[in-house]
Each structure stands twice: as C-alpha cells, then as structure tokens.
C-alpha cells in the first residue's frame, strides 16, 4: 500500500498578510499612539517584571520601534503592545540571568490591585489554604501554584506539563479536591 504523506496540510508557508491600508503619513497620529500607550508599557515592565526604570523606558521605546515593521499584522494594538512588553521583559531578565518574574511589592502597596482589595478578610483562608497545600504531593503543589499563585491559564499549564487542556482542567480539579481533603482532615487535629 502507499503510505500517505502524513498530514499533508501542515502550514507550508507564511499566512497571507492582510491588505495594507492606503498609505497616509500622519506623524501626529504616530505621536498620539506613542504618548497614549508608552506609559502603560513602562509601568508593566517596572511593576510586573521589576525591570529598572531606565531599562523599562528603553524597552517600551523599542517595542514602539518594532511595531513599525509589524503594524500591518496586528489585529488588536493593545494586546500586541502588552504581549510585546511582557515578552521583552522576560527576555530582558533571561539576558540578565534571572528568569523569575517578581512582583514589585513596594509599588504594589502604593497602588494596590483592585482584585486584592479584601486581602485582609481573605488572609485567614489563604493561610489555611497554604497549610493544605503543604500537605499535597510536590506535583499537585506545583500545579496549584501555577494556577492560583502565578495566575497561569489552563492552556498555559497544559503546555508546561505537555498534556491537553482538558486533562489539565481535570488535574486542577483533582488537586483542589485533594487539598480540600487535606484541609478537612487537618481541622479535627487542630481542634484537639
């Protein structure tokens, strides 16, 4: 028998670029784009990735310069700019010998994330959750840490683990169930 060439439809070439818009040179438009977005890029590099301010400014500027060559590919400007500065910040730290993103605790305290506003009330539960987490296997701890502490999506964790998203979702649920069991099991001991 003839063996089929496997999966003939691999993407063989670059996707078609969208038709470029008619060329209108409007320097003000570019200046406006820069002014409107440069601050948030610098802020992300500094606050989310702890890139020193001077380097963060240089990175943000470089993101804009690289945008000029890519602009016809971009569907959503903000998503692209944010993706670019996050990846640039990670690359920056890879080049500078650090590969862990750290939160800027000082700045975070000055301008708290609205998502963390009730942190005091939920702290007790978090501590309990931390104890429950400590009672899990290293793999389960790792999965829950990725999901709930480092904020990775199911798809990202799936990629990291080299398994499917569906299976990852099941794993996370299983980890949570196990954590709940550990938590419940530790309660009576504490009461004693």
């Amino acid at each position: 028998m003839f063996e089929a060439s496997p999966m003939a439809h691999e993407a063989a070439h670059e996707p078609l670029p969208p038709a470029p818009p008619p060329c209108v040179i409007d320097e003000e438009q570019f200046a406006h784009l820069y002014e409107k977005n440069v601050d948030v890029l610098i802020a992300i590099a500094i606050r989310k990735f702890q890139v020193p301010a001077v380097d963060a400014e240089a990175l943000a500027h470089e993101v804009f310069m690289s945008y000029l060559k890519r602009k016809d590919d971009i569907r959503d400007l903000h998503k692209w700019l944010l993706g670019a500065i996050c990846n640039a910040s990670r690359y920056y730290w890879r080049q500078h010998g650090r590969n862990i993103e750290q939160l800027d605790t000082e700045l975070a305290a000055e301008r708290p994330d609205p998502a963390s506003q009730n942190i005091v009330e939920i702290m007790a539960s978090r501590i309990a959750a931390g104890e429950a987490l400590a009672g899990l296997s290293p793999r389960y701890q790792h999965i829950l840490r990725l999901r709930y502490f480092e904020g990775y999506s199911i798809n990202e964790i799936a990629e990291h683990l080299g398994v499917t998203a569906k299976y990852t979702q099941k794993l996370v649920t299983r980890c949570l169930r196990r954590a709940e069991e550990v938590f419940n099991a530790s309660e009576p001991r504490k009461q004693k």
Binding site: M1, F2, H13, A43, E62, M65, D73, R75, Y91
Partner: protein, 406 residues
C-alpha cells in the same frame, strides 16, 4: 466587568490602563526625544512605502532571473519598502517557482546585510535583516535543503538577538526552524521550538501564526506517532480557528484530525473530518486542495486497511483532478489505485487504468520519461510481471519528474 491589573484585562480596559500607569515615570525631555525618533522613523518608512509602489515587482519583471543578483546595487531597491515587496514576491513564488523564490530571498538578504547602519534605527534594521534571512530559510526548507534552512533561520535569530523586544520576530524565524527540524525528524527539538513559538504568537494576539505554529506542532506530534496528543492539540486549535473565523485553517485542521482519527482507529470520525475539510475547501474555492484532501484521506485509509473507503476517496480525487485538468495529479491517483488493485490481484482493472494514464499523459504532452515509465508498467501488468512495489516505484518516478519540472 471586574477591574484588575490582570494583563488580559489591561489590554481591554482604558481606565485600568490609566490607573495602573499612575505616575511611574515622568514625561521628560529624554522621552520627548524618543517620541520624536519614533515618529521620524514611522514617517520615513511610510514615505518609502508610498514612493516605492510595485518597485520590486517591476525590477524582477524587467531583469532576467539569472541577473537578479546584480539588482542588489540598485539604489531604488535598497530600502525597507522594496525589501517588504521582495518578501511578498518570495511568498508568491514559493509553491510554484521555489528556485526563483530562493533567488529573490538571496537578493533580499544581500541588500539587507549591506544597508548602512545609519539608514534605519537599529531595531528596524535588525527586523528587516531577520525577515530576509527568514525568507531564505523558508525557501530552502521548501526545496528540502533543511540544514541550510536551519542555518538561515539561525542567522535571522542572530540578527535579532540584541533586542529584547523582538520576540515576535524571533518566533517567526523560529517557526521556520521548527518546521525544518521536524522535517529532519528531530521531533523533540522541533516540538520544543514550535510550542514556544505558539506561546509567543498567542501573547501577541497573532492568531493566524498561532494556528500555523500549532498545525506544525501537531504535525510533529503526529509524525512522532503521538497521535492522541496531536489530535488533542488540533481540537484546541480548531476552537481558536473557529473563534477567529479562519476557514482555511479550519479546513486544514479537519484534514489533519482525519489523519489522527484514522491512526487511532476511529474511521467513522476520520471520514467526518475529511468530509468537513473537503466541504470547507470547496466553500473557500480552493479547488486544488479538495482532491488533494481526498487523495490524502484515501491513502491513509488504505494504509490502515480500510480499502473500500480509501479506494472510493482516491477515485473521487482522480475524477476531480481530471475535471480541473490536473492530468499529472490525476495520473498519480490512478497509480495509487493501481497499486491496490495489483496487490488484490485485480489485474484487468489495473491494466485498463494504467493504459488510460498513458493516453492521458500523451494527450497532455507530459514528460516523455513519465509516459515511458507508465507504459512499461502497463506492459509488466500485461505479462503478470508487476507487483505493488513496481507500481509504487513508477509512482515515485513520475512524482519526481513532476517536482523537477516545477
């Protein structure tokens, strides 16, 4: 809507962007200078694009292909706009005239490498050099010169290595490298590269390339016989392609899901996926992809022992190729069918089919070596001296001649 500092939310919410920014850095003179550098570069690139409409196509049209290398000296071609157009010319020729595509990619690389550093800001210069090398890598990969393709892709990466912000460009170059590694059956390396590219494309909201990298990654998994993982990834990609309304990718994903389902033994599901792919290619008007999908489906089904269904698909593919006047492709389908027939001992139909192929090839004025090979096969079948292996050898020979004539 719940407001937060989550990056996905920040991309969508202007008020949160403003709040998040606070007064992190004051807008000082240095930043004003940077802004001016940005607007000046933007204006320059736009002006060049405006002034150079169609310039590369015109030069390539008016110069014999074997003299294209000397175009590197033409001042009108020594700018970003002309290089962008050359990249487009490479893309247009990649499938039908890969050697011409390579000559243009070589010309681009030679121009890009010799542009003076003062012509553009360093980031832009790095991007245009990397793009030229990436185009060279793509064409070399297409010509099955994988080592050179990987080398060219690495050269593209090298051009970008000083710039932290060029992860998107880096991923575009590495996508080609990943595909070439997969073709060299270096599956683990390819998988690592392609999966990282997919992440970067997703981060940059480049859904088209995200799906493209995913397809290549799924193909790598498939070829490494990790069929279930390949299928699972393809299902995720299908979801993204549907959400993005990308019909072409949906068609390709369905086709590949059909291949996976076949290997996983679910032939009913495989047939549904192949039919979905055919329907979508038909809707798109991709006429040549329809019989190609049918042919791929037929071959894989036959290889898995689903002879009747596979033969039906091959016959349908042959009919459609013939309808579109793609005589070589129709003939190759007929030879695939003949191999099955010979293996089953159905020599009468095999003989009839190969004779028809000889007639069709002769009428279409195809390469005489191909006609002679099929005619000889026909005679071998006549005297009961042909095996399925003989037919496969002739198939490979005709295919080779077709590829050389491109």
């Amino acid at each position: 809507m719940k407001h937060s500092d989550d990056l996905t939310h920040l991309a969508e919410c202007a008020s949160c962007r403003q709040r998040f920014t606070g007064n992190v850095v004051a807008f000082d003179a240095a930043r004003r200078n940077r802004e001016e550098e940005f607007t000046a570069a933007a204006a320059r690139l736009e002006r060049e694009r405006d002034a150079s409409t169609d310039i590369a196509a015109r030069y390539l049209r008016d110069t014999p292909a074997d003299e294209w290398a000397r175009l590197a000296e033409m001042p009108e071609l020594r700018n970003n706009a002309a290089l962008e157009q050359m990249s487009e010319e490479v893309r247009k020729r990649l499938h039908r005239k890969p050697r011409e595509a390579l000559a243009i990619a070589n010309l681009s690389a030679s121009i890009a490498e010799s542009l003076p550093p003062s012509q553009y800001p360093p980031v832009v210069l790095a991007q245009l050099r990397a793009n030229a090398w990436k185009d060279r890598a793509s064409t070399l990969r297409y010509l099955a010169r994988y080592d050179e393709a990987i080398e060219a892709a690495e050269r593209a990466e090298e051009s970008l290595s000083s710039f932290a912000t060029l992860e998107h460009d880096r991923a575009i170059a590495r996508l080609v490298k990943g595909m070439a590694l997969a073709q060299q059956e270096r599956f683990d390396e390819a998988h690592a590269v392609l999966s990282e590219c997919r992440r970067v494309f997703r981060d940059h909201d480049d859904i088209k390339r995200y799906v493209q990298a995913g397809l290549a990654e799924a193909n790598t998994l498939y070829r490494a016989t990790r069929h279930a993982q390949s299928e699972s990834l393809l299902h995720d990609l299908l979801h993204d392609a549907v959400e993005a309304g990308d019909l072409e990718s949906q068609a390709r994903i369905h086709n590949n899901l059909g291949f996976c389902a076949t290997h996983l033994g679910d032939y009913a599901r495989a047939n549904i996926h192949f039919s979905e792919a055919v329907a979508k290619f038909t809707d798109l008007g991709f006429t040549s992809e329809v019989p190609r999908t049918e042919r791929g489906a037929g071959l894989v089904l036959i290889a898995r022992g689903q002879i009747a269904t596979g033969l039906a698909r091959l016959r349908q593919a042959r009919r459609t190729f013939a309808e579109y006047g793609m005589i070589e492709e129709a003939g190759l389908c007929a030879l695939s069918i003949a191999a099955v027939l010979v293996e089953r001992g159905d020599l009468t139909e095999a003989r009839q089919l190969t004779r028809t192929v000889v007639d069709e090839f002769t009428a279409a004025g195809l390469d005489e070596r191909a006609i002679a090979a099929v005619a000889e096969l026909c005679e071998a079948i006549d005297v009961d001296n042909a095996t399925a292996e003989t037919v496969r050898t002739v198939h490979a020979f005709v295919e080779k001649i077709r590829d050389l004539s491109w």
